[in-house]
Symmetry: C2
Subunit: 126 residues, 2 copies
């Protein structure tokens, strides 16, 4: 299952890194700058954000455009391969809406609506 090159195994390993899918999801809504992106995805620290963007760029998923070095202005956008991750994000979204309940520790939370009566699920922390 892990030997040789297995596309799905490799994909999971790529997308599984912390913040990666959040980054993609944010960029699916349009180009973003570095800090803007970090804020948008919920406060990723700059060190990790740099690493993720480097890997995503090296993998041909994200494109970086430096519009000006000083004062600094950079844009990050999705490539064709990056845009295609919409399918993955949508699948996760559908699953989340249907099966994920707010954990009881959280307050003021709206329960997701379900049309068909499906057993829902509580997210449990680590």
């Amino acid at each position: 299952m892990k030997d040789d090159f297995c596309p799905i195994y490799a994909s999971i390993n790529l997308l599984q890194e912390k913040w990666t899918l959040h980054i993609v999801r944010s960029l699916l809504e349009g180009p973003r700058g570095f800090n803007e992106l970090g804020r948008d995805i919920g406060g990723c620290n700059p060190t990790t954000l740099t690493q993720r963007l480097e890997r995503l760029e090296a993998s041909g998923i994200v494109e970086k455009t430096v519009q000006s070095t000083m004062p600094p202005r950079t844009r990050y956008t999705l490539t064709e391969a990056g845009l295609a991750l919409q399918g993955v994000v949508d699948a996760v979204d559908r699953w989340g809406r249907q099966f994920l309940n707010a954990p009881p520790t959280e307050q003021g939370v709206v329960q997701p609506e379900v049309k068909t009566p499906v057993r829902q699920v509580q997210v449990r922390g680590t």
Copy 2:
């Protein structure tokens, strides 16, 4: 984007933990025992595997059945919510096949087949 309870944000955080999607993918093919599962997903260490299974069980995605304590025999299976992750795994699989190329450092690798001419992508390590 991170405040309150957002199903997709929470889903990403749940699925993003190392080994989690590999575990789900393996269980989608049928029930597994603890060591069997660890081997199948490519050598996950028992400590992490225990943690992941605990969280997945607490979240209602995986079900654990102890068939015998001594000698030990346990089965892990997917619940309804777990089975529904097939959609996510499929989406990742489709994306991987279409856009992911084997990294050049790896030998004896089969290039994924593409019908439409799409720009493919090289997976880059950290």
